[in-house]
Symmetry: D2
Subunit: 308 residues, 4 copies
């Protein structure tokens, strides 16, 4: 397994808020130091787990600038520039460039009803507007289009795309992507966004993982990645199984939004670990109820992370 | 049928571009004069048909300002403020207020995975941030959530929502909405966004129609509306059938995006009628091929609109 | 509006069961007499509302035979032959032919993943195997494919299809179908399956309605149909609004299956009216809880049907 | 990894037809001998790959009887009993029992709109009607409901279900199922139905794989399974990668049905290998065009299977 510049464990960093709902920049710095202490290989801010959709442009700039300041080049800083269409994405790219991004991540268009050809043009237009490496974020549950293997490898081979973050939930397609990319000389670096099948993805040949759960337990993801690099798959699986047990925190809430259940649980866990001071979410996302919080606390407490 | 301030035919105004892709403000003025000459009862700019998702904030402000300037209060100006989440919508609301909007239209959150309760909070937060009347835009094909009858009527009764633009394609739910709204004292004004079933919607009790096709043939929609107000349903249906024949322009393209097929066809037709000079779409939407354009021209030519 | 052989109000007849779950053939006869007394123009047995998916072949034959015996030619008897693929549908067609069907109704294939071309072949194979008129049942919520306007009109023009029962929920497509069928010389008779927009569908040119709710209040549907034939659209709408109020029975249950909420409510209402003795559903469909049943009773009681 | 009675490689056996469309029982025997020669641990007939949806009951009985006769107890014979609802499934169970099945496989209800509770009742009713071990087949792409982890483990713990064939494409859920099953004492045997991620599934703890592609290259699947049992994950991955290259046969056809592209490719490949004499599919599935067949032949020829 060669190690390209972007590789390994690159968590999608959560965006903390204070109890009154304001952006919590010290909390963000604390999360980043927690991640770096865990040995992560990069940071991805303003992803779905970073609540990018809920932040104003001013808030987004603050997040990037503070992340760049705290990180100070220790690892690459990748920035989400999700917007509906190319013209609007490119405005986000300018903000990211000025605020200190090392690479950018964009989805297919959303709200719109694009053709396959328009999705491809979308990525070409973005790449043509910046010198930063561009990653495609494949997330059909949010944008309602799946990126195709053929298009991704073609855009990789042409130097339009540097890599892919796959959150499609479609491992059959991901396996095909890994193999087609290898046959094309490996132009793309490939990350899985799925927290609980990363051992499998690494076995298949993924270059890394972008796990929301990595906000909570970065070290164990790094250890799993290192086990995979060493070819110790039994150990990788064992570590993954421990992370699976921890990931149950996102299944505790019932009848709430995807953001409340997932990112809300991440924030509750980070608060439990003392990394941030509040689990507050962006409006209109409600906070989790007390019994859900207690179940999440119990899972975190069982994980062995709470060593004081 | 009482006539509230917002009623009748309120087309979602297309946003013309010049052949080189720039915003075509004179073309926009021309479209608006075409619509006002047709007798429309209001204008809705920056809707899906206005390619709102493809415009930068600066372009959006230009569209609103120019629309307000040209319209000069002759009819109400309703402005789309579609964005992913409340904080971002409210920024759009500020732009709309400053640029001259008389009312605003917002969808449910998108890109996110909201709960029903969060969708309701979303509308409450928007309404709480402005004095302008707020319309809910129900468009599950784009935002992937259907607004519920119960929530809409409740928000109407509380004065949060002024009305609904229904583009859900779910006439069973729309009929239930009309009846539930009536039972609640008719707090909401209700519009169908579906071009070809407006006679039915008016029969059921809709207060108006927001037809993309109204960009092309506003007068016939106005005549249909007037026939409906007069209770002349045979005439309403007959006019609707003529409009159905014209609406076939959006079914001519194959294998292209929803925007290219639909809005692209509207622009081709407006160019054929001499209202605008170019059918150019926003990037990354491709223009229609020549044979599709010819089929659209033939339909327009048969419609009787081309009186010289 | 010409009156083809199949036209008007043709309810999809529910299949009663006794309290112990057995087929209730006397109850079925009672439902049929209730419908004929209401003036319906035809009967459709073994549709979705008839729980066709839940019946064994032996039960299906019993339902057809008893329906044919009770109806005794007073109105046409249309029989659902829903199965996954042509070979299995044709076996059902044989049963229907032998048991006394006057026409048959088939969906697109389901469970399978058919192409558009295979869906068309499916209908051609069925029609080629029987002399009975064949209706296409367009029900994407169950079979997960929408029948296209082009295919339906083509199969009508070739004499493969006699008509369409549209339960697609897509009135835009239905309006296009009505107009395309008219342009082709009206080879198809067109029915809407949606209980609450039938006045609109008739205004557009539908030949009839197949309303599950017609099991409860057949007379009012017949009166609405007659008002439509007379061009008295205000009266048609008024009757439809009354039927909409009654249709609220299907929205009373929460968290249960589509069958329990809808067909379950029909059976509860029929039992309330004394037409059948039990609201029992086919396994594994549970019966509605007591508070739901009470809300349904209250709606039925307000409808004016309970004149003793 | 313990080895329960049902484990390892259990291909879903294709159902050959002669060039004129008749059931090809000698061809079926030839496929089974090919599979047994490859060392498979069981046979699954009348699955989706066996075109169960397209076969009449008489054909289904012939397939089971011939399979039982040829297999003669050398490996367990598992039989699909897919039908819409419990009453109809149980009729299929009777056929399977009489014809020689060792276990049965059933999906959730389809065509119907079941609640979660009804899906659970469905499996309870089936299990209650037979002494044969019952496997749940999780295939939302066909039945449009995903089986939940909680329900599956509960039904396993109660002895209702013997195992699960997971074709959900949702590896996150599958991983959770593996872990929840382990925590419950491993009442279920778990199979993945996805041909190209079986190495990962085995790493996670799956007991076996049900690969359609196993019809073509059973031996390599068996070798991969044995490598997994030995903990030689690099070898398992390498064999899986070879199988991935072969699996590209199902992506060669464009614009055809799922059955034509997938099962059609399997049959073309089997014919190329001389195992069957015709790639004929069940009606209304069309055969693949010549250029697609040639591309499939080229992939098969490159696979090294064609040693004569």
């Amino acid at each position: 397994m060669s190690e390209p510049r972007f590789h390994g464990v690159i968590p999608p960093v959560v965006t903390p808020r204070t109890a009154d709902g304001a952006l919590d920049l010290p909390g963000l710095g604390s999360v980043i130091e927690h991640l770096l202490a865990g040995g992560v290989h990069g940071l991805f801010v303003l992803g779905s787990s970073g609540e990018v959709a809920f932040l104003t442009d001013a808030e987004r700039v603050s997040v990037i600038e503070e992340s760049a300041r705290v990180t100070a080049g220790r690892v690459p800083l990748i920035v989400g520039v999700n917007e509906m269409t190319p013209a609007r994405v490119i405005e986000q790219v300018r903000l990211a460039e000025q605020a200190g991004a090392d690479a950018i991540v964009a989805t297919a268009p959303f709200y719109t009803l694009p053709s396959t050809a328009e999705i491809e043009t979308h990525f070409r237009l973005i790449a043509g507007a910046t010198a930063l490496p561009l990653f495609a974020y494949d997330v059909p549950v949010r944008v309602h289009n799946k990126l195709t293997v053929d298009m991704l490898v073609r855009l990789g081979a042409e130097g339009i795309l540097a890599g892919v973050k796959d959150s499609s939930g479609d491992d059959v397609a991901f396996r095909r992507l890994v193999n087609a990319n290898r046959a094309a000389g490996e132009p793309l670096v490939l990350f899985t966004g799925h927290e609980v099948v990363a051992d499998g993805a690494l076995l298949w040949g993924a270059h890394g993982v972008v796990p929301g759960l990595g906000n909570i337990d970065p070290r164990r993801y790094v250890e799993m990645y290192e086990a995979a690099v060493d070819g110790d798959w039994a150990r990788a699986r064992s570590l993954q199984d421990e992370l699976c047990a921890l990931f149950e925190i996102v299944f505790q809430a019932q009848g709430v939004s995807g953001e409340a259940a997932g990112i809300g649980a991440f924030k509750v866990a980070l608060a439990r670990l003392g990394v941030i001071s509040s689990a507050r979410m962006s409006q209109p996302v409600a906070e989790l109820d007390e019994s859900t919080v207690e179940r999440i606390h119990a899972i975190v407490d069982r994980s062995g992370l709470l060593v004081t």
